[in-house]
């Protein structure tokens, strides 16, 4: 028996505008009966201390899309997905606003969970985006430091 797997082209976008997570998820499942599981991840701009005016997301145009596309391709090789969407915003993002979206669709839930989890871990450590905090008090913004826990999360997928 040969497995019949249709090639899946991931949707990858880097954009200034906000995104509609529900619409992106619908595109991966509408009119199909082979999708059993849809996992959506939305990353939002936090501000627990109430002192943030906005995050400014700088990116490396060209490479940001290329790197996200490489990571999406890697996920498609590792898991039998029926669809995969990655959207990452750049520019100024206010507290409570959406920053990043990953949607993974598959016949079975484990593949969808693992692929979206994997993508977020690698996106954090490999996609060329950098966050700067602009505070309400008008002080000059400071760059957000990379967290070692993000590298540890990404390393989980290599140790497997």
């Amino acid at each position: 028996m040969t497995q019949q797997i249709l090639p899946v082209t991931p949707v990858v976008r880097v954009q200034l505008e906000d995104f509609d997570a529900a619409a992106e998820a619908r595109i991966l499942s509408d009119g199909r009966t082979d999708v059993g599981a849809l996992v959506s991840f939305v990353g939002l701009c936090r501000d627990e201390a109430g002192r943030l005016d906005a995050l400014e997301l700088e990116h490396y145009p060209g490479m940001a899309e290329a790197e996200l596309r490489r990571l999406a391709g890697e996920a498609l090789e590792r898991w039998p997905l029926t669809g995969l969407t990655v959207v990452h915003r750049h520019g100024k993002i206010r507290p409570g606003e959406q920053i990043v979206l990953v949607v993974a669709a598959s016949s079975h839930r484990r593949a969808a969970f693992e692929a979206s989890d994997f993508l977020m871990d690698f996106l954090k450590t490999k996609a060329p985006f950098w966050k700067k905090e602009h505070l309400k008090d008008g002080a000059d913004g400071s760059w957000v430091n990379a967290r070692s826990v993000d590298q540890k999360d990404a390393d989980r997928w290599v140790e497997q």
């Binding site: 990353g43 997301l57 700088e58 990116h59 490396y60 060209g62 490479m63 290329a66 790197e67 990452h88 920053i99 990043v100 977020m120 996106l123 954090k124 450590t125 490999k126 996609a127 060329p128 985006f129 950098w130 966050k131 700067k132 760059w143 957000v144 430091n145 990379a146």
Partner: protein, 83 residues
Amino acid sequence: MQIKYFASIRERVGRNDETRELPRSITTVADLLDHLSAEDESYAIAFADRETLRAALDQEHVELDAPLGAAREIALFPPMTGG
């Protein structure tokens, strides 16, 4: 070769990008970092901590000891913090 800088490295270097003809003696990313650092203190400061310096050649991540090869574009930046 076009050199691009991002985030804190861009701010420390004081420019977004520049284009340079490199001497033939410069064959790796690290060679280029040393070359620029010797030229001006702003580079020396920006590239001082090699542990937290990242590089990409033609938009693909590479280690600092990677050969420049035929790459047309190099980018230098700190660890990424997207997502």
